[in-house]
């Protein structure tokens, strides 16, 4: 046996020391609420994210119904006033990005998967991890509490541009607007702590033998996303402090009368806001890479290229932010520069899509539910990416800016990221997470019941956007140009499709919670996958690998290797004769 085998033996010993904790029976609070176990913290993030998604879904239901049937009493909500409408739009955007996409894609999946996939027993800082979730939970509670203060929840849109966001005589939600900033800032703190933990863990605590290229793509992507988040959020933290001061202490950081500048906020916000798109995109891309290799039974095509491409995307994403400000009075020469950088960033992203299609080519594809989601991600995200080209070109953007075209483009990127990829991840790792199997038929019903209505919502919105429909309008009846033939019909169609989409989520929730307790028991490696999490039992106990922490002998994507009888070759299986 080689020297690595000795290292393995040593780590086996340690592996038995570490999970000693699982011999005593922790109480309910210690196990579910005060746990330092990365898997439990991942679940805390997951379930909090799912609960917040219900809020995000309910708010969009209420304000879309107001758009389709203005002035009507909405079943389950009542009449939507103009103030309500602003608060609902703002809350939908904020919640879906900061309290659904971020916690589920990065925090929940990162926490759950990273230690398992790199073959160690926990994060390097378990208590910091717990603190990160607790701060996140407080941030969610602060945001929800803003519904119950005088004036109600913040109504200045999720981008929170001053002066609308900085002066309560404009947004009419004085307390709510400060609570909003505080909640967002707290959430950033939570993710900074979590991100430092992720990056440090992957850098220092990989299984013996696991070189950087042996780290699965999804882990790479979550780490890159964490670094991207860390490198971009700082200016917005500073901006959040300035905004709170402007709101409450009469400073004028964003007030030209006092020597400030409202566009400063747009710079600070989008310097974070655009890399943020890639902060959530990269983990989604990583999930899709894992799922399509497993269900194509084929090596990931150009694995190193994907990683280098992701790094390139991360770097370029810092030079595109001003494409959100083409109509904010920026110098046209600067607009040209940002048009070019924006078009450039579509190249590496498109490259990733090609790599995934290259992986599918010649594979023996298995159309399981996670695979359907992964394929849908590629198709739908592609539409989102292509429509982005129109908006990146400054000339076209001047027409499209703040129309439903932008909104539809944005949702064609974000819905695949925050929902389609997440459903791929949940259906793929569910057997590992809960030790039980989801129902495939229900899974496919949910899949089609989500993807078809999704397109039925946003294709009409593209059409409306091209016809000049401005976003964030409470009641289109006041705008004759927006009430031309067929336009209201498209709005009604989109809204009814939304209701159908929301209804089909019940299928998912039933399948999820029923299977969690009553589903057929899952084996340790139901998909015959290579990565290390499948070497642990389903569900993994405290300490993850009861037979000792694994050693890694090869990359994560050795499927259909010609020298092997089985079509997969797990990373931790020692080569024969070694």
């Amino acid at each position: 046996m080689s020297s690595t085998a000795h290292g393995h033996a040593a780590s086996v010993g340690n592996g038995h020391d570490a999970p000693a904790g699982h011999h005593h029976n922790p109480g309910f609070i210690e196990k579910y609420l005060w746990s330092t176990d990365h898997k439990m913290i991942g679940f805390q993030y997951l379930f909090t994210g799912m609960a917040m998604a219900l809020i995000g879904g309910f708010t969009v239901y209420a304000f879309r119904m107001q758009i389709a049937f203005p002035g009507m009493s909405i079943p389950g909500y009542g009449r939507v006033t103009a103030g309500d409408y602003n608060a609902l739009v703002t809350t939908h955007g904020t919640v879906m990005i900061f309290w659904v996409a971020m916690p589920v894609l990065i925090a929940a999946l990162g926490n759950y998967l990273i230690p398992l996939m790199i073959g160690c027993d926990d994060m390097v800082f378990p208590r910091l991890n717990r603190l990160s979730y607790q701060i996140f939970l407080v941030s969610a509670l602060v945001l929800i509490s803003s519904f119950f203060v005088e004036g109600g929840a913040f109504g200045g849109a999720w981008t929170s541009y001053p002066p609308l966001s900085s002066k309560s005589q404009y947004n009419l939600t004085g307390v709510g607007s400060t609570l909003w900033v505080v909640a967002v800032a707290l959430e950033f703190v939570a993710f900074l702590l979590g991100g430092i933990n992720f990056v440090t863990t992957v850098m220092n605590s990989r299984a013996p033998g696991m070189k950087l290229w042996d780290v699965p793509i999804v882990v790479w992507m979550i780490v890159l996303a964490s670094i991207l988040f860390m490198a971009s959020v700082g200016p917005l933290v500073a901006g959040a402090v300035m905004l709170i001061f402007d709101q409450n202490f009469h400073t004028g950081f964003f007030d030209p009368v006092k020597g400030g500048d409202p566009v400063l906020w747009q710079h600070l916000f989008w310097f974070f806001g655009h890399p943020e798109v890639y902060v959530v995109l990269l983990p989604a891309m990583g999930i899709v890479a894992e799922v399509i290799t497993v269900f194509s039974r084929k090596r990931l095509f150009a694995q190193r290229t994907v990683i280098m491409t992701a790094i390139a995307v991360g770097i370029i994403s810092f030079f595109v932010w001003a494409h959100h400000q083409f109509v904010a009075g920026i110098d046209p020469r600067m607009a040209n520069v940002f048009s070019v950088t924006t078009l450039i960033i579509s190249i590496p992203v498109a490259e990733m899509v090609f790599v995934y299609i290259g992986t599918l080519y010649g594979g023996s594809i298995r159309l399981t539910t996670p695979m359907l989601w992964a394929l849908a991600f590629i198709a739908e995200f592609l539409l989102g990416g292509v429509t982005g080209i129109f908006l990146g070109a400054s000339g076209a953007d001047i027409y499209f800016h703040d129309t439903y075209f932008v909104l539809a483009h944005f949702h064609y990127t974000f819905f695949p990221i925050a929902f389609i990829a997440v459903f791929a991840a949940i259906t793929h790792w569910f057997p590992k997470m809960f030790g039980r199997t989801l129902n495939e038929t229900f899974g496919k019903v949910h899949f089609w019941g989500t993807v078809i209505p999704f397109n039925c919502i946003f294709i009409p919105l593209f059409v409306l956007g091209v016809r000049g429909d401005h976003r964030r309008i409470y009641d289109y009846r006041h705008f004759p140009d927006s009430m031309q033939a067929g336009m209201q019909d498209l709005r009604v169609f989109a809204t009814l499709s939304l209701v159908v989409l929301l209804a089909f989520q019940v299928v998912f929730l039933v399948n999820f919670f029923y299977s969690m307790f009553k589903g057929p028991k899952a084996p340790a490696n139901p998909w015959h996958a290579n990565t290390l999490e499948w070497a642990a039992p389903s569900p993994p106990p405290h300490g993850n690998f009861p037979e000792g922490l694994p050693t890694v002998y090869r990359g994560p994507y050795e499927y259909s290797h010609p020298d092997r009888k089985e079509d997969y070759w797990p990373q931790h299986i020692a080569p024969e004769g070694a």
């Binding site: 570490a18 926990d122 933290v237």
Partner: protein, 190 residues
């Protein structure tokens, strides 16, 4: 809580604690970068701010710069003592570093009280808004560093967790470095 195996691994060759401190600093650099970048852009656009900046107390700022730099020297000596496994000595030097931070804060509060008495408050103009926000954010970091340092010193006195002496030292140097940027930008630039 039992320390997981993960915490003890060192694949990069750098101990996990120190690695994490560098990442903390990386994320802090961007926060201060945002503040200072915004300030510099405004300052370029508003040459008239020099009349406001003329009212800052450059001598007090210079004195504080010396104090902070000296306290960083004490942090280095603490690290040196920790390397020699001399925990109590490291703890004494850390307390000295804390003393430096304390003097810095006292000078700062005298300075601010004076300025506020002369009518230069947070909201009197955007220069003063930046002045109080940037220095205040830095001051919070000084306070946080001191609090952590007291905990580290308490452990070091018992020869426990000596590697943390270096980690808090790295953080303290960073706080120092931020001040090196703040001092000329807020006090000297006229």
């Amino acid at each position: 809580m039992i320390r997981p195996v993960a915490t003890t691994r060192e694949m990069t060759g750098m101990p996990t604690g120190r690695l994490a401190v560098w990442w903390v600093i990386a994320s802090e650099i961007v926060i201060f970068g945002g503040v200072l970048g915004s300030y510099i852009m405004h300052r370029i656009g508003h040459p008239e701010w020099e009349y406001q900046a003329a009212h800052t107390n450059t001598m007090a700022g210079a004195f504080n710069t010396v104090v902070l730099l000296t306290s960083s020297l004490a942090a280095v000596l603490a690290h040196n003592a920790a390397e020699q496994k001399n925990g109590p000595k490291a703890a004494r030097f850390l307390m000295l570093t804390c003393l430096g931070g304390f003097i810095f804060l006292v000078v700062k509060s005298v300075e601010w009280t004076n300025e506020i008495h002369h009518g230069y408050t947070l909201a009197s103009s955007t220069f003063w808004s930046f002045y109080y926000m940037a220095a205040g954010l830095h001051g919070l970091h000084v306070i946080a560093g001191m609090v952590i340092m007291l905990f580290v010193a308490a452990d070091a006195r018992k020869n426990k967790e000596l590697q943390r002496v270096e980690n808090i030292g790295i953080y303290w140097h960073f706080v120092d470095l931020v001040w090196i940027f703040l001092f000329p930008l807020l006090y000297i630039a006229k």
